[in-house]
Symmetry: C3
Subunit: 153 residues, 3 copies
């Protein structure tokens, strides 16, 4: 696997600090070579992207929110790998949850914001299975939440 830190730099991406646990759960848990990453919400350098797709949040803003979720996932994956993203063998699965009005159908396009970042950063190893659904509400009114299953070396 190529040097992922260099790739992040080429893409102009800075990983956020991996958020510390705030309750009796942890950001990631490993079993064998599989790591489950906790659902990451659309928190960015300017704060949490909140609100509902189809009710005040545009598709473009939703996609950017999903990209933030993916960036937060990558920060947790890096922590899970002891700082070495070269240990990532495969992004196996993303579970995408969009805070969506019942009449908003473009759920896949929103979650593409997360999927695209995984492939930009990890190449073919970033191509994952996924589910994408529209939910009634997310933690702290976040616009998007994405969790992940990752295989590491």
């Amino acid at each position: 696997m190529a040097d992922i830190d260099s790739r992040l730099k080429e893409l102009g991406l800075t990983l956020p600090e991996a958020a510390a646990p705030v309750a009796n759960y942890v950001p990631y848990a490993q079993s064998g070579q599989i790591v489950h990453i906790s659902g990451q919400i659309s928190l960015g350098p300017d704060g949490l992207v909140t609100g509902r797709l189809g009710d005040g949040v545009s598709l473009e803003d939703g996609q950017a929110a999903a990209r933030l979720c993916a960036l937060n996932l990558i920060a947790q994956i890096k922590a899970a790998c002891g700082g070495d993203l070269g240990q990532v063998k495969r992004i196996v699965k993303l579970g995408g949850f969009v805070n969506a009005h019942p009449d908003f159908y473009d759920i896949p396009k929103v979650i593409n914001g997360a999927s695209d970042l995984m492939v930009e950063v990890f190449g073919d190893a970033g191509r994952h299975a996924r589910s994408a659904v529209g939910v009634a509400v997310l933690p702290l009114n976040a616009a998007v939440e994405v969790d992940a299953v990752v295989e590491i070396a």
Copy 2:
């Protein structure tokens, strides 16, 4: 495991073409003997079954929609097995998502449409753990989406 293709024929079932990836995600991703299958929506030979349970879509139509999701999952599982469904050791988990009005409580009966097909096709190897929830909206206004975790030989 018995000859699954014969079993499908006995049941009068024709697998759809495994849908090609339409974005930066893939229909399935394998890690060891575990394959994660992407969420499959209720797309059938007559098009996508759309709409909301408890708001225009009947229980029977919802169950048929869930069955379509399972058929689409089996098509992807077959692709993941290189065409040989005899490689399936266990349907481990189904995640069922129903496009549901907040007053519609029969979520499990809807998802039974998918669970039943798995057991009809795979017998005891088709008995899976599952979750079943009612969501605000699904991709393209699909009535049902189901994803899966499968163990293969």
Copy 3:
């Protein structure tokens, strides 16, 4: 791992009977050392805790409902371990679903009711990755549903 049955007793907790399968799915399915536990709803000794957070169900009642889900999960985990909870190596992942009004944002606090019980019972082995989302409706109008991925010896 310490004697979990003693720990349950210290905590004054009595495990419910592990609910029998009511359809073509099973309460848990194992693949290797990983067990997927089916979504457990907020069923307690006084019946099912029903209703919607932010629309008639208080945060405290929601947390108690989540705790019931976790207790039901532990009952299923015990069954999966052949009765010996000492076989649990790690609670790997909880998937938390809250029946929530679109204006109810305290989803994480609700699911903490489940997360806290896992740590009370299993100690560090109970610290898990998790996702937590607010959904439109749950089976039988349950207030909370939680599923799990567990590693056993």
